[in-house]
Subunit: 436 residues, 2 copies
Amino acid sequence: MNRISWNTLDAAARTQALARPRQSQNEELTAAVARLLAQVRADGDATLRALTRRYDGCELATLAVSDAEFDAAEAQVPVDLKQAIDEAAGRISTFHRKTAPQDIALETAPGVLCERILRPLSRVGFYVPAGTAPLPSTVLMLAVPAGIAGCDDIILCTPPDRDGRCDPVVLYAARRLGVRRVFKLGGAQAIAAMAYGTESVPRCDKLFGPGNAWVTEAKRQVAADPSGVPIDMPAGPSEVLVIADASADPEFVAADLLSQAEHGSDSQVILVSTSERLIEAVALAVDAQLATLPRANLARDALAHSRLIQVDDLESALQIANQYAPEHLILNVEDARRWLPQVRNAGSVFLGPWSPEAIGDYCSGTNHVLPTFGHARAWSGVSVASFVKLITVQELEPRGLRHVGPCAETLARTERLHAHERAVTLRLQRLAEVAP
Amino acid sequence: MNRISWNTLDAAARTQALARPRQSQNEELTAAVARLLAQVRADGDATLRALTRRYDGCELATLAVSDAEFDAAEAQVPVDLKQAIDEAAGRISTFHRKTAPQDIALETAPGVLCERILRPLSRVGFYVPAGTAPLPSTVLMLAVPAGIAGCDDIILCTPPDRDGRCDPVVLYAARRLGVRRVFKLGGAQAIAAMAYGTESVPRCDKLFGPGNAWVTEAKRQVAADPSGVPIDMPAGPSEVLVIADASADPEFVAADLLSQAEHGSDSQVILVSTSERLIEAVALAVDAQLATLPRANLARDALAHSRLIQVDDLESALQIANQYAPEHLILNVEDARRWLPQVRNAGSVFLGPWSPEAIGDYCSGTNHVLPTFGHARAWSGVSVASFVKLITVQELEPRGLRHVGPCAETLARTERLHAHERAVTLRLQRLAEVAP
């Protein structure tokens, strides 16, 4: 792990120290994904089947998961895991219900009723990766808020194994949370199918979920296409920034850093501390814990470009965090809450020694689909708001129009939009005729 | 205007009848904008000055509007217009404050405190077009919610005239609403400057505002660039869909249709009615009103691809509206509110005879930056939420971790993320040592 003493760096070196590995605009990948999207749009299911044969190594008669397959999956999931899924879903539901936007109505002037009403997206599409580790928790984090929003049609794509079967826990969690239309599709072809529709897979109004480089690039392209569909947020490798002082337990800090590092070799792991001793102890603890970690190889790659940054005070640590804008920010310092007002850019924040990131990943109740790669400067994580449209409404009584009409006439005249002005003037004239 | 009898059409013809003119992926424009963005990134202000010379026909010493220019602009704005701006700002502020997201905290389990906190975007960039008509109302619709969100650094670009001056009403409205950093920049170069930063123009965290095809394409490209910045929403021509029954005043309907048509030759105007007589009366009223409209040429072009659709009942009319997903939806029918629950896709809704779209454009209090081109199926208009990040926070007490930790351990084990599991297990062990 790379140790950095912050106050020895000039501005350029500091920017460099917080730079993420450039997501190389891989022109080959961009072109390959563009071709794949065009192919799926042109040939639909036939292309999906051919790509599934090539990449997942299986031949599918039907793309959709059948009821029998759902039943078989359910039979495979142990009871304690079912209970954990229910327990997590309960808390995620509690938090997301409480933070959901609400209908609001108010009079902005006498006789001018304005409203903000909610409508769910009609059909949403989820991508749930399999591969090195299936992610049933992603099903929780997407299906629970979509259900609260009232989305009645949810499509889920997840890749099959060589035998044409999907991960049983993913299938179980999906049906448990009301998702019954699951397709055995992985990679960019799944994104293409949900964005444009095929014979089997219906076109969705918005796409959600994590994925590999192909999936990420496909989501980027369909979001940029004026006839495509929007996506939850731009993606990048997962990341954590831990701020720890001398009070922190180095074992805890090391475990938190590793729980980010094990996600993949491109994961970003940063520790910022006021204590040189803590930094040294964490480095030792990381080595010790790494020895017994099944995914140690991935974690070791991630740690190779991690950073241990020593700062003079916690104010500097918070500045670094805000500049980096991490997906996950752990404040493992004394009286952690005191520093929360200084947090400006982060996806999700974990306060104090007893709040490991893993709890937020699974079951504190907050969402784990969060902005990475510095996008926390402008983006928020997934919430019920991600699944609804906020529609405004206005209803004017005659007295309301009399009250606010002249203001609109003046502004329309200024903007030289005379038909706008007339739409008001005509009505005011009619009102004057009726009740002068 | 094109008359259509809905129940004589088959499904394909219906889709065709509601199709928007395809936004031609103009490859020349795409390439030209990409070159321009690259040029601004490479040469900064020098490129901005050269492009302003070429497209706006003026030579600028400084790009930023000076205090003296703000003062001169203020002196030019008549008192009644200042009052109208203040009055509109007041109602817009009332509505946006009331509909702004709020900080929320709750316990999802004993000792598990979860929060959703708000943070404003640090620096936002606004584009305000000039050209055929300057749009001070756009300043209102962006600056008021940004101010409520707490954005403390607002950049605004608006093109200069041949004498190097910006529209005085735009400048007045900007300063009145706390926007002091205005740059004399138009077109795609303004978007490039705010997205990537130059010597004069700082890089912004998110870009807002309408514009011509160049601006729209530049916004699309910077939003699709992983090192670019997000934008308010994808753009298309402005549009209205009016649903009117036999009770509607044809003069009002005609005025509402024309107030959309005058925006530009690519504006979309649709009337859906149960009454053949109303449709005929509206067609006549449109012709009559068109005769005295200053922007009649633009409106006439827009009307050439407008549609007057006759339906059997209002249920069908609502279905058409939901399929089209209009930016503005006017329900000029008896007991209009009764139909609101059936509205699924729209940017903003206007109920009853006394609620012309022009009121929402200026001063009912709702926002007029709304999703066009069918994007209302998945996007919402601008609101305070567009200017904040929603950050989640969790703070666990030891009893909280004891309560929810085992659930996280089970799920982490299932996902084969052992470091995640250990970050919880280590802490639970420590707690057991302290208080077994």
